[in-house]
């Protein structure tokens, strides 16, 4: 299962896409996202299952 990872480094910044993690469960996906995307002292990070994404405008 693929999870999209979003993060931001300041409250005034919007969340932006930083990458993905592949994990069958949520808890491991959370741990993995934190350890893989550690290039910034993020103040906020979220993960979203890719399958929950709906495209309103397609690229």
């Amino acid at each position: 299962m693929i999870w999209e990872v979003f993060a931001r480094k300041a409250y005034e910044d919007p969340l932006h896409h930083v990458g993905t993690v592949t994990e069958s469960d949520e808890d491991l996906a959370l741990v993995s996202a934190r350890s893989i995307y550690d290039e910034q002292p993020w103040i906020h990070m979220i993960i979203v299952p890719r399958e929950a994404i709906r495209e309103a405008i397609k690229p």
Binding site: I2, G19, T20, T22, S35, I36, Y37, E39, P59
Partner: protein
């Protein structure tokens, strides 16, 4: 490939000519897809195999915190490998099979990693030489790549490789200042320098880059990248009083290699034979892979294969 990548080659050329980035399969042609998969695989495999190579050398860390710094570098390399593999996953490649079910000799990484790093000297030199090579290659991709998701992801790599270089250079400088350490450092540098020259592949006169440059998988040719790398490494090693068989030629404004190149190499003794060989001979050695290939891949696949 045709099913996954719907565009024609002409459509891709027009897309790129308009200055647009390729964002996913929907923008790709079969040739583009094939090419980007190949270069992503080489990049991810190289980052991945550096992890067991560096771990082996980290056993020689002089103190616990130095071992910790090596593990931090290993973590970065694994996370960089992850970037390449996850992008391959989005391009229709079975990611777990690619990493964990491939045969050792199917991995695509520079031959240098097939030669074991056996000391802390060799670990820090690998940070200063190999990571510099990786940095040169990825900076080129970062600047020139037409594949948007990769280009953006490389911002992370840039920063972390800078830390690896600093780690390598700080230690090299420290060792070079001590006569006993310097002798050992130089001995390792002797085999590692020429092996890293090979990293950039066949010389331009032998290698057709055609589609790689045209589709923007890379921006510079092999020889240009080799020059870039020497431009970073040669002045540094000279500054700390070490020697390498290369110098800058004022007249041509290029680095010149001062030893037979390519050269016959004894991978067991980690020594250059001094005899010039042909690139065809090098290709035979590369294809056969070196001493650590199977060991490293077995280590990487251990937990998955059980």
């Amino acid at each position: 490939m045709e099913e996954l990548a719907p565009r024609t080659e002409d459509e891709v050329r027009a897309h790129l000519a308009a200055g647009k980035l390729v964002e996913g399969l929907q923008h790709m042609s079969p040739e583009y897809l094939k090419g980007i998969r190949r270069i992503l695989t080489v990049s991810a495999d190289t980052e991945l195999v550096s992890a067991p190579a560096y771990l082996r050398a980290a056993a020689h860390a002089p103190a616990l915190n130095n071992f910790g710094s090596a593990v931090s570098i290993i973590q970065d390399e694994l996370a960089h490998a992850h970037i390449g593999y996850r992008l391959l996953g989005d391009l229709g490649v079975d990611m777990p099979a690619l990493i964990y079910e491939r045969e050792p000799n199917a991995f695509k990484y520079p031959y240098a990693f097939d030669v074991p790093l056996d000391s802390w000297y060799e670990l820090v030199l690998a940070n200063a030489l190999y990571d510099q090579a990786g940095f040169v290659l990825l900076s080129d991709v970062h600047q020139s790549s037409t594949f948007g998701p990769w280009k953006r992801a490389l911002a992370k790599v840039d920063k972390e490789e800078t830390f690896h270089l600093r780690h390598g250079r700080t230690w090299v400088k420290k060792f070079a200042a001590d006569p006993d350490h310097k002798v050992k450092l130089q001995a390792s540098l002797d085999w590692m320098f020429i092996l890293t020259l090979e990293w950039f592949g066949l010389p331009d006169e032998r290698k057709k880059h055609g589609i790689q440059l045209e589709y923007g998988f890379k921006g510079k040719s092999n020889d240009e990248l080799r020059q870039d790398w020497m431009g970073h490494v040669v002045p540094f090693v000279e500054e700390v009083g070490l020697h390498v068989p290369a110098h800058f030629d004022e007249q041509t404004q290029r680095y010149v290699i001062d030893c037979p190149f390519p050269q016959q190499f004894d991978s067991e003794k980690k020594a250059w034979g001094g005899t010039e060989i042909s690139w065809d001979d090098v290709l035979v050695r590369w294809k056969a892979r070196g001493p650590m290939n199977e060991t490293y891949v077995a280590r990487l696949q251990k937990g998955y294969r059980g």
